[in-house]
């Protein structure tokens, strides 16, 4: 993943990719009798892509530390409910604060756990996902016991997750992600620690500080994903039996594809583009009449596997 890529090459690659996407969009439109290129449809695709991008950007920092955190889906759900509750009390301000605070606290905790316990992160992440889901089910039972329903955000507070403000969020997000990941000393330190922690430490990088700060940054993006989701849906169902994994599935696929094209386009910028591709596919499937959550998931699985194969082509390393 070359960070300081050739600027001209990158801009050209981006333009090519965008043109390809637009071309496909027109083709799909014809195939779907013009139902595809409607304002609300495109809005929905873009909104979903932006939500997924925030999650994927958070993941970029997870990958930088060489971690794989499967609990992020459940963490997002925690942020969702927290921001819903506080949002109903304090309005959009409360929404944002709750989401970000919960995101930061939990992700920092996650990273500390990974570092301290020395368990492979994907295993620990699964365990944490289960624990967080358990916590959410406790929360749900508590709500039931006091006679309330699951938190539903008042719709007037849900402005951040909808156009036009969501596009503003996107611009803020991508600029922040780009600078933090590629150009800041935090991003560099995170990648150093993830690459070779012992050497990084020996060379004077404060590993603990790096882990915590990266946790904070990652938590900010995850928190944003959380409150944006709540703003968009207003009411979100409780996850169980690792269904929270489904939340991170599309961003995951986006990062994968982004990693493969990271030779030409910087990861941070590639991520939203890949997310758009994925949600276009989802959308086309549902327009054709396939119920959501079924074949689309299978298609996504195939995407991940195919891009996984491509990414690993020519790998000489040992792969478990």
């Amino acid at each position: 993943m070359d960070v300081t890529g050739n600027l001209k090459k990158m801009v050209i690659s981006i333009l090519i990719l965008v043109l390809v996407i637009v071309a496909f969009a027109f083709i799909f439109n014809i195939a779907c009798d013009g139902k595809f290129l409607t304002g609300s449809n495109i809005n929905q695709i873009l909104t979903n892509s932006i939500l997924a991008s925030f999650i994927a950007w958070g993941f970029c920092f997870v990958f930088a530390l060489n971690y794989m955190d499967f609990s992020i889906g459940a963490v997002i759900m925690l942020c969702v409910y927290a921001s819903g509750e506080l949002g109903n009390i304090l309005g959009p301000v409360g929404l944002v604060i709750a989401g970000i605070v919960v995101g930061v606290v939990v992700m920092t905790f996650n990273f500390s756990l990974f570092a301290f316990l020395k368990i492979p992160s994907w295993v620990a992440g699964l365990g944490l996902a289960l624990i967080y889901e358990a916590i959410i089910s406790v929360y749900q039972r508590y709500k039931e016991s006091v006679g309330a329903n699951l938190v539903m955000l008042k719709s007037e507070y849900g402005i951040l997750g909808r156009p036009p403000l969501i596009y503003v969020m996107f611009i803020i997000g991508i600029i922040l992600a780009y600078i933090l990941y590629n150009r800041s000393s935090l991003g560099l330190n995170a990648r150093s620690v993830g690459s070779n922690q012992a050497v990084a430490k020996a060379m004077g990088i404060n590993v603990t500080k790096t882990l915590i700060l990266t946790g904070v940054v990652c938590g900010i993006f995850i928190g944003c994903a959380g409150f944006l989701r709540e703003s968009y849906s207003l009411l979100v169902n409780v996850p169980s039996s690792l269904s929270s994994l489904a939340v991170i599935f599309p961003p995951f696929a986006a990062i994968f594809i982004a990693q493969v094209i990271s030779r030409w386009i910087n990861m941070i910028i590639a991520v939203p583009l890949c997310a758009v591709i994925i949600y276009i596919c989802y959308n086309v499937l549902s327009l054709v009449g396939i119920p959501s959550g079924t074949i689309s998931e299978f298609m996504l699985a195939l995407f991940i596997i195919v891009f996984g194969i491509i990414a690993q082509r020519g790998t000489k390393e040992v792969v478990k």
Partner: protein, 501 residues
């Protein structure tokens, strides 16, 4: 100025668990000198360096740098005190570009508001490379994507970037090609001329004697003596390191090549991407064929290709006795070939498994019972036999592999093949990082295998080893056989070096 003591240790001690790695080490480094640390594996030389470099702390004793007490808590500390380090334990950070690696941990002056200016970093790195006449490197490339030699160069640049008074080099030359080795020697000369000092470790005794002014010999954690290089001979040096007379010849005594009539392995048009170019040769039963060359010459790749480990290999490697084509490592194993890789700790042995499982892994096919099962009784028997036959020093076959010394590990690495009915043996640097006693043992083993009629391929970085043990030598340059030498008058170091460059 020159001759004045710049670094000194007094009664330095370091213990790891039950073992005393450094006992009362008194050592001094003078300005303007090149000082070598020599000793067998386990003598404590790397432990001493690590303490000076700030990688580990000392238990007792003290270090003085330029007259003041010096207690580094990290390599960064050492850097701040003007000590540049290139040590095995450090290395580069793979996910970060090479240029940034040179200044890793010290990027503060290139950073404003948290943003790092990589262009400025690269500029300064190029200046440093120019000042010390080191080659050009692709600084934007991720260090992890570079080969071992380039990475070592990055480490060297990193050490030089602090403009150090003392440069510590731990086993660096073995990773460098001849040109870069020459550049390194030039840097060493320059250091001397500037009144700065170099502290180096190398297993290559010839190199150490040629490069260093003084040598400190360590044995079993203690300093044996510090001597002027000009005042001792190689044999004296060996004697000090081992503490006993080397009995008889290390290598072979005979001066003529010998081999059987039958061909063990025949290689036709072997090529591997651009590392090995269209090589053809035959290995006869009962002969030792040496392969030597620079690190980029492809000799190690040849070894892998012969055992079917190279996916990109083209051409034919054939076992003559049954015309079997070796195109995968499982085929090689099945047909009775054996391969002893260069990096025994992570390519040859499973360090956390026990001795028994390591020894029996290549031989599982032979240890099967009639029903096809592999019972522990047979495994234990084979392992115990091997351990006693090769005098492997261990607590029991249940001991973890990582608990053995280098020499004993190598005995297992090599010995586990011997029990099998071998058709051909490929060895890559079989005595690398092995103490003198175990070396002699291994050479004896090879001599007896040769007498039994086994064809062997000896790939080695040590010219003396190849000259001492082989019947024929193929000198390899840039993936091609530059010259074939036969044992006898042709076997001189000059003959090899002439063609190797």
């Amino acid at each position: 100025m020159a001759g004045e003591i710049i670094l000194k240790t007094e009664k330095l001690c370091k213990t790891f668990g039950p073992t005393k790695a450094n006992i009362d080490v008194d050592f001094e480094l003078r300005r303007g000198e090149v000082h070598g640390l020599v000793g067998e594996n386990g003598s404590g030389k790397s432990t001493l360096l690590s303490q000076i470099a700030g990688i580990i702390g000392s238990d007792s004793g003290r270090i003085e740098l330029q007259g003041e007490v010096y207690e580094p808590h990290s390599p960064l500390d050492a850097y701040d005190h003007g000590i540049g380090i290139v040590v095995q334990e450090l290395g580069v950070i793979g996910n970060v570009p090479a240029g940034v690696n040179v200044f890793i941990g010290r990027t503060q002056r290139f950073t404003k508001f948290g943003i790092v200016n990589t262009t400025k970093i690269n500029e300064e790195v190029r200046e440093i490379a120019k000042e010390w006449d080191l080659g050009d490197l692709p600084l934007n490339k991720l260090a992890g994507a570079m080969n071992v030699e380039s990475r070592k160069q990055v480490e060297l640049l990193r050490a030089l970037a602090v403009d150090p008074e003392i440069l510590i080099l731990d086993e660096i030359t073995q990773a460098l090609s001849y040109d870069n080795r020459r550049r390194l020697y030039a840097i060493i000369e320059k250091f001397k001329a500037m009144g700065r000092s170099i502290l180096m470790i190398s297993h290559d005794l010839e190199e150490i004697m040629a490069t260093c002014d003084r040598l400190t010999v360590l044995r079993d954690g203690r300093v044996v003596d510090t001597v002027e290089t000009s005042a001792i001979s190689m044999n004296d040096l060996k004697r000090m390191m081992v503490g006993r007379e080397m009995e008889g010849e290390y290598y072979r005594v005979d001066n003529e090549p010998s081999r059987r009539e039958s061909i063990a392995l025949s290689v036709e048009n072997l090529s591997v991407t651009d590392e090995v170019k269209d090589m053809s040769f035959d290995i006869y039963d009962g002969e030792i064929v040496g392969f030597c060359g620079l690190s980029g010459s492809g000799i190690h790749t040849i070894g892998k290709a012969l055992y079917g480990l190279s996916d990109e290999a083209k051409g034919k490697v054939r076992l003559r006795k049954n015309e079997a084509l070796i195109d995968s490592s499982q085929k090689a194993l099945h047909e009775g070939m054996a391969y002893v890789p260069k990096e025994r700790d992570w390519e040859g042995l499973m360090m956390q498994a026990n001795i028994r499982d390591n020894i029996t892994l290549p031989g599982l096919d032979d240890l099967k019972s009639k029903a096809g099962f592999v019972w522990n009784g047979a495994l234990n028997k084979t392992a115990n036999k091997a351990v006693s036959e090769f005098s492997v020093k261990c607590n029991s076959i249940a001991q973890e592999m990582g608990g053995l010394s280098g020499g004993n590990k190598q005995k297992v690495n090599l010995g586990r093949w011997i029990a099998k009915d071998l058709s051909c043996l490929v060895l890559d640097c079989p005595t690398r990082g092995v103490d003198v006693g175990a070396k002699a043992y291994i050479y004896n083993l090879l001599k007896s295998l040769k007498a039994d009629g086994l064809g062997m391929i000896l790939i080695s970085d040590e010219l003396m080893e190849v000259l001492g043990m082989a019947d024929r030598i193929f000198v390899v340059k840039d993936g091609e056989i530059a010259r074939e030498l036969k044992r006898g008058d042709e076997f001189t170091e000059d003959n090899i070096i002439e063609v190797m460059l």
